[in-house]
């Protein structure tokens, strides 16, 4: 599936040139994975034939995309999907095997920040050296030195050797250098996982400012929240191929499906661990699913979008007021929510043998982004302990969007602050 949509023009963006800032056409990159890698001539001489066998890992496979100047472009994908390799090819660190890549203007990579410094040199020397490597002239590097140090908030540690820096400090320094080189195109590879919260916020503010100035930003991350907050457009890579491109929310949705969607519509046959099935099966849980407001079965849905859980039960014998139960568990297996008709509905009535009942539970979707599964059960009337059939994890839904809080739910809430 490919979702294509024109990039939305952000308000206040600089006028764009007709030429794309970054143009990738049919780019492919493979790595040879030798079955036995020989690192010395001696080994090669001793094993002249074995050394030739290798697997080809197609890290980037025929990816084409044009990124307009001023666009904030997200690249997402699972681990090993080729996003970092693509970025490194763009950064001019790896050469591509096939295709074409063009980057217009100065490029600044935010890749593996914190490495590349000479630990024996002071921050001062390292800044100049890094700025030169990034393409500044010595004069430009010196002129920008103060603002680089100011942004990194390292004024007091200028003449300290880098080996005495904490890792956070050197990352901050690297980030400052990369952001101050006045690049037209910024390649950002999951750098925001580092640094403390205030520095992260500062980085995002800086990206926003650069974006307003018409700079092009390519952003690799696992944080779907950030993708939806910042990006104009996003691309999803899977096994080196581009599987989706377009609206960040939709691409993020696809990403969640790829990640969690594997378990969506598994057949109900076969028992799972945790299933409790009575010997005298007067009723069977046939199916359970998540659905949206329109009643369509879904594998993923946005945070706060109307959600319902459905279950289907087939009766083999006559039953009076059986209790239908639904339990929702998160990825960690913790029960986030549980309900039964016993508790919140009341008597369900009489069911005849052969009858099939479909039960729906509409609920407010306050779940935080993660994967959730539904366990459905049918029990005899009473205290609910006399389970006839209980089927665990029949369906899974991925909640995306929303904020990444540390809680399992993001309840509607309001603060009040009183001071005296």
């Amino acid at each position: 599936m490919t979702i294509t949509s024109a990039p939305s023009t952000p308000a206040g963006a600089a006028p764009r040139s007709l030429l794309p800032a970054v143009s990738i056409q049919g780019a492919s990159k493979a790595f040879k994975l030798h079955h036995r890698q020989y690192h010395t001539l001696k080994e090669r001489a001793l094993h002249p034939f074995q050394a030739r066998t290798f697997d080809l890992l197609q890290a980037v496979d025929n990816v084409s995309v044009d990124i307009a100047a001023g666009e904030f472009f997200g690249i997402i994908g699972r681990n090993g999907s080729g996003k970092s390799t693509l970025l490194k090819c763009l950064a001019g660190i790896y050469d591509i095997d096939a295709g074409k890549m063009d980057v217009r203007g100065r490029l600044s990579p935010f890749i593996e920040l914190g490495v590349g410094f000479n630990l024996d040199l002071t921050a001062r020397d390292n800044v100049i050296l890094n700025a030169l490597v990034l393409g500044l002239t010595r004069k430009e590097a010196k002129a920008r030195f103060d603002s680089i140090i100011a942004f990194a908030e390292l004024e007091d540690f200028l003449d300290m050797r880098l080996k005495n820096y904490s890792s956070g400090m050197s990352v901050r320094l690297a980030f400052s250098v990369a952001i101050q080189v006045d690049a037209d195109v910024l390649l950002i590879d999951e750098v925001l996982a580092v640094g403390d919260a205030s520095f992260q916020q500062k980085c995002f503010d800086e990206f926003q400012r650069l974006k307003k100035e018409g700079r092009t930003i390519l952003f690799v991350t696992h944080d779907m929240g950030a993708i939806q907050r910042f990006c104009d457009r996003a691309m999803l890579l899977e096994k080196g191929r581009m599987v989706a491109i377009g609206d960040p929310a939709e691409v993020a949705h696809r990403y969640n499906e790829l990640n969690f969607g594997r378990t969506v519509h598994e057949p109900t046959e076969g028992e799972r661990e945790g299933d409790r099935r009575a010997d005298r099966r007067d009723a069977d849980v046939v199916d359970a699913w998540f659905e949206d407001a329109a009643g369509a079965r879904i594998a993923a849905i946005g945070h706060r979008e109307a959600l319902a859980v459905g279950l289907q039960v087939r009766f083999n014998a006559a039953l009076d007021d059986p209790s239908f139960g639904v339990t929702i568990r998160n990825e960690a297996g913790a029960t986030v929510f549980a309900t039964t008709t016993e508790w919140s509905f009341g008597p369900t009535g009489h069911f005849a043998p052969g009858e099939v009942a479909t039960v729906k539970v509409r609920l407010e979707n306050w779940f935080t982004p993660s994967s959730y599964s539904v366990t459905a059960s049918i029990a005899r009337a009473g205290l609910g302990s006399d389970t006839i059939d209980l089927r665990t994890d029949l369906a899974t839904v991925v909640i995306h969007g929303g904020r990444f809080t540390t809680g399992v739910v993001d309840l509607p809430h309001a603060f009040e602050i009183e001071r005296r």
Partner: protein
């Protein structure tokens, strides 16, 4: 990989040369000068430590070859010549051996930034060149102290050092890029450089074949094949010999063969330029090889090694960061 067509867009693969000569030069210079500064200002004795190694080596060799083996005792300026040869050799060794692991040393930069890859080994040679410049000071001091008169011929040292630097950077390019593929380049080069050391007239004098007198000579000693007598240039009898002409032919071959080695030819020429001396005492490369047409052999080797270095490096450059 043509750097930058008419369009403003560039091909974004890593390359040996990059597409901006100014940046190339400034990067090489910066990497070299920061490395140089590190060795010089990182310890209290900085400059002296970096001189210590060649000077200690010189001291030991000087003692051994003047007091024990007497190779240099009859030679007036043996100390100057020995020191000059050692310091030139130190430069060559530092530039080449330092290049072997240079890519590994710059791994951090190579894996995250786009810059011309050739900068890495060239910076090593340039650092060694900076060091050589400072190391020349004690040579001139020693030369003047030993009564060598400064002449215009001293300027010949400049092209000699330039050629040595070209040779060293050519070898450096090859070694740095081959090391990425084969880690045993390190011990291999250790052995080869040892061989080169003994194959070059550093601790021993220059052998040469004198066409005009058909006499074979070792530096300081002229020996006439017809008289089978070894004389040093000061007229003293070095060693009487009854060796047949065949042995001298053997020496003839070795003398020629050793001079084909560009390091040997350059060191011979440097000695000739700095010390000069009576005819035959410090033969020029031209004299030792027996004519300009023969001088073209070591010069040609330098050109071939450098060209090979450039070609191999250019070919390997795009894949250095992934093969490391």
């Amino acid at each position: 990989m043509s750097a930058g067509d008419s369009a403003p867009a560039r091909r974004y693969g890593p390359s040996a040369f990059g597409d901006d000569l100014r940046r190339f030069v400034s990067l090489t210079y910066t990497l070299a000068s920061t490395d140089f500064k590190l060795t010089y200002f990182n310890s209290i004795l900085g400059y002296f430590w970096s001189l210590m190694r060649p000077l200690l080596f010189f001291g030991v060799l000087y003692f051994v070859f003047t007091n024990i083996f007497h190779v240099g005792s009859g030679v007036h300026d043996y100390s100057v010549e020995l020191l000059l040869a050692i310091i030139l050799w130190t430069f060559f060794l530092q530039a080449t051996s330092g290049s072997v692991q240079s890519m590994l040393g710059r791994e951090g930069l190579l894996r995250k930034m786009r810059f011309p890859r050739l900068v890495v080994p060239l910076a090593v040679t340039l650092t060694a060149l900076f060091q050589l410049t400072t190391n020349l000071v004690p040579i001139f001091v020693l030369a003047l102290a030993s009564g060598v008169t400064p002449t215009l011929a001293w300027l010949e040292l400049i092209p000699v050092i330039a050629l040595l630097a070209i040779l060293a950077s050519g070898i450096g390019m090859l070694l740095s890029v081959l090391y990425v593929r084969a880690r045993d380049i390190q011990p291999i080069w250790d052995v080869i450089s040892q061989l080169l050391f003994y194959a070059s007239p550093i601790i021993y004098p220059v052998f040469y074949y004198n066409h005009s007198t058909t006499s074979y000579a070792a530096k300081g000693c002229v020996f006439n094949s017809t008289r089978d007598q070894y004389l040093n240039v000061y007229g003293q009898v070095c060693k009487a010999s009854s060796a047949p002409v065949g042995d001298n032919l053997h020496l003839h071959f070795i003398g020629h063969f050793l001079m084909v080695n560009p390091v040997a030819a350059l060191i011979a020429q440097a000695r000739h330029a700095l010390v000069g001396g009576p005819l035959g005492a410090n033969p020029s490369a031209n004299f030792a090889l027996g004519g300009w047409e023969y001088v073209m052999i070591p010069v040609g080797i330098i050109a071939v090694v450098f060209a090979l270095g450039v070609v191999v490096f250019h070919h390997e450059a795009p894949r250095i960061s992934e093969n490391l």
